[in-house]
């Protein structure tokens, strides 16, 4: 009987049935970060429990580490240093590989895990971070968990789970010029809701997905959690295998029947199917306080709940484009990879951000991305345009206290969440692609990136 990719990975990892009916699923990789790593490891030590296989557990400092050059263990977040030092000590005691503050491989967990070949096609990978689904771009089953489940996975090498339902979202056809993976994700979530994927493991498929580069695929899978899905993933192809081959923890090559079988069979049945015509997708920007409240950039704000209109300060019928912004942010596990920075730099090259922009920053997703960008001179493009050029980390994708945007700011942001207060108390966040952030920073107002494109090429054409 034809199987879905999800079925194949799940069934291959089923260790046992529990007496009460859940399934024990083997977990190949656990990745911790300093925000919750110390809590999980500390509790394990308290309970006298040990890591089942420390060689398959990794940790990084990304969430609250400082992103200003010359950083140390000190972090702008009040009390933040303790999270870093305690996570370091706990990793050492448990024998876990840590990519520390000063490690050349440091970066956001979902950026460095692929860079290091820690995530692999067909593997199961969990992390106490909701955007772990990003790593599904490589054909892995990767999802976010809480601290208790992280302990469970570390101690037993498994999780106790109920099998989710399966969904396939097919983006058929080709993207229009200036439209990116971020826009695909926001289009889908706007159409089907922030809980549209609830209860499901979602496979992204179709011509427009295959045409994406690996960075674009990671962006699309990253937003699966904003769709309410347990996980999002894409069947690995030559692009995925070539991207990973030979990386530090990856095999030198991916030849062989195991790798070739990592795809949904012809005729495989999904519990739910969604079809999207990729050609109808426009550059998207969020207007409200949930990713589902997103619009084509040239659209008008619809009628939402009064509390959302009050928070975001936009009335029904308002034009999104032209709304003045005070700050700009390029970074986060959604859009901080080298391809994201290249596309934003293409728009900023030879231009300056508007004088009304009070804070603009670029935070590369990893130190490797930062080095690559500097080798290509992108840092100069950003700083010449008026952006700050940072060390890698999660930074102001969320507000942890200590460093924030000016009070009351409206921020155009390449991040994944526009929740009330997400980027600071009272901050109004509009999520969009890096090129839309760049265009809006130049305009000083929400702008259509197609009006600022350096040439007519699209991401899909570049990838093809």
């Amino acid at each position: 009987m034809p199987s879905t990719l999800f079925d194949k990975i799940w069934d291959a990892h089923r260790v046992a049935q529990t007496p009460s009916g859940a399934q024990l699923i083997a977990i190949d990789r656990v990745f911790l970060h300093e925000r919750t790593g110390a809590a999980a490891l500390g509790r394990m030590a308290e309970m006298g429990r040990e890591v089942f296989d420390p060689a398959r557990v990794f940790a990084v400092t990304d969430h609250i580490v400082d992103t200003r050059p010359g950083r140390t263990d000190a972090t702008p977040m009040p009390g933040g240093e303790a999270f870093i030092t305690q996570t370091r000590a706990a990793c050492r005691a448990a024998g876990i590989t840590l990519f520390d503050v000063d490690d050349p491989a440091q970066g956001i967990v979902h950026v460095i895990s692929p860079e290091l070949g820690i995530v692999l096609p067909g593997c199961t990978l969990v992390a106490p971070d909701s955007h772990t689904c990003t790593q599904g771009a490589f054909g892995a089953l990767a999802w976010g968990i809480g601290s208790s489940e992280a302990e469970h996975a570390m101690v037993t090498g498994t999780l106790r789970l109920q099998r989710p339902r399966t969904m396939r979202v097919s983006f058929d056809g080709a993207l229009a010029r200036g439209v990116t993976a971020k826009d695909m994700a926001l289009h889908l979530i706007a159409a089907h809701g922030a809980s549209g994927g609830a209860g499901h493991a979602v496979e992204f498929a179709g011509d427009a997905v295959r045409a994406l580069d690996m960075e674009g695929r990671m962006t699309l899978c990253n937003m699966a959690t904003e769709f309410g899905a347990m996980a999002g993933f894409i069947a690995p192809d030559a692009k995925a295998f070539d991207w990973l081959a030979g990386r530090r923890f990856a095999p030198a090559s991916f030849d062989g029947p195991y790798w070739q079988d990592l795809r949904s069979d012809e005729g495989a049945r999904f519990d739910q199917e969604i079809q999207v015509d990729a050609a109808t997708i426009a550059p998207m920007v969020s207007w409200g306080t949930s990713p589902e409240e997103s619009l084509p950039v040239d659209g008008q704000v619809p009628q939402g709940s009064q509390r959302v209109h009050d928070y975001i300060g936009l009335a029904p019928g308002a034009q999104l484009a032209g709304t003045p912004v005070d700050a700009a942010f390029i970074g986060s596990c959604t859009n901080s990879r080298i391809a994201d920075l290249r596309r934003a730099a293409d728009i900023l090259r030879g231009r300056r951000i508007a004088p009304s922009i009070r804070k603009a920053l670029v935070v590369p997703g990893s130190m490797a991305v930062r080095r690559q960008a500097e080798a290509e001179g992108l840092d100069k493009v950003f700083t010449d345009a008026g952006f700050e050029w940072r060390m890698s980390g999660c930074s102001m994708c969320f507000y942890a206290g200590g460093e924030g945007f000016p009070e009351g700011s409206r921020v155009i942001s390449s991040t994944n969440r526009n929740f009330p207060g997400r980027q600071g108390p009272g901050i109004r966040t509009h999520i969009a692609s890096p090129e839309t952030v760049a265009a809006s920073a130049i305009a000083g107002a929400i702008a259509d990136p197609r009006d600022y494109a350096p040439d007519g090429s699209t991401q899909a054409e570049e990838a093809a």
């Binding site: 046992a16 009460s20 919750t36 809590a39 060689a55 809980s195 507000y399 929740f419």
Partner: protein
């Protein structure tokens, strides 16, 4: 962890907003220690306080109202607990005294976190949640039903989750009993997929 109250009775605090995220339940800046405690004071800080720094209460917020100040049950909208996977959101709710959340729907990680911390997440149709919001209700885990003065609502929960909640069982202890199966599986898998098992580098 103690077993789930049999039964749990009280007034369901109405919080009928969709997409209440974990940043709202416990903001990142309220997570001040690396442990699991000391979080109740920051619970729902953005809604609960007009000024979080001075802890000035917002009298309009449901949990600040006398009849809900000691509520153990919340009635919520769709996609409750969306956003960050931080288990601190559930720890904060549990520390404050919440034992059950009746919602139109939950984000999956939050749902799993509830079950690991003695909080019963119940999903019902929107009209049913709305009917229960603000009412005196009895949550009966064994019978899988919620009773109010006007109606009884059945709810679904998987058998393992029900057992673990009812008895206050630790999932890790349960799984440790199956370690022989797990070790055997891993030994065989190491032969089949050697690339999954790196040499230790720490």
């Amino acid at each position: 962890m103690s077993g789930f109250p049999q039964p749990l009775a009280g007034r369901a605090a109405p919080l009928m907003i969709d997409n209440v995220d974990t940043d709202t339940i416990i903001p990142s800046r309220e997570m001040k220690t690396t442990g699991r405690t000391g979080l109740a004071d920051g619970l729902f800080a953005p809604l609960r306080y007009t000024d979080a720094d001075t802890r000035t209460e917002n009298p309009d917020f449901v949990l600040n109202q006398p009849e809900y100040r000691h509520a153990q049950i919340i009635a919520a909208g769709a996609n409750f607990g969306s956003g960050s996977s931080r288990e601190h959101a559930v720890w904060a709710l549990a520390e404050w005294g919440i034992r059950a959340v009746i919602a139109v729907g939950f984000a999956p990680i939050f749902h799993a976190n509830c079950l690991r911390n003695g909080i019963l997440p119940i999903t019902l149709e929107r009209s049913d949640v709305a009917a229960l919001a603000g009412q005196q209700v009895t949550v009966d885990l064994a019978a899988q039903e919620i009773r109010s003065a006007s109606k009884t609502h059945a709810f679904a929960i998987d058998p393992e989750a029900r057992l673990m909640l009812a008895k206050g069982l630790d999932a890790i202890d349960l799984t440790l009993a199956q370690m022989p199966d797990i070790r055997a599986w891993a030994a065989a898998d190491r032969q089949a997929r050697p690339w999954i098992y790196p040499e230790h580098t720490a």
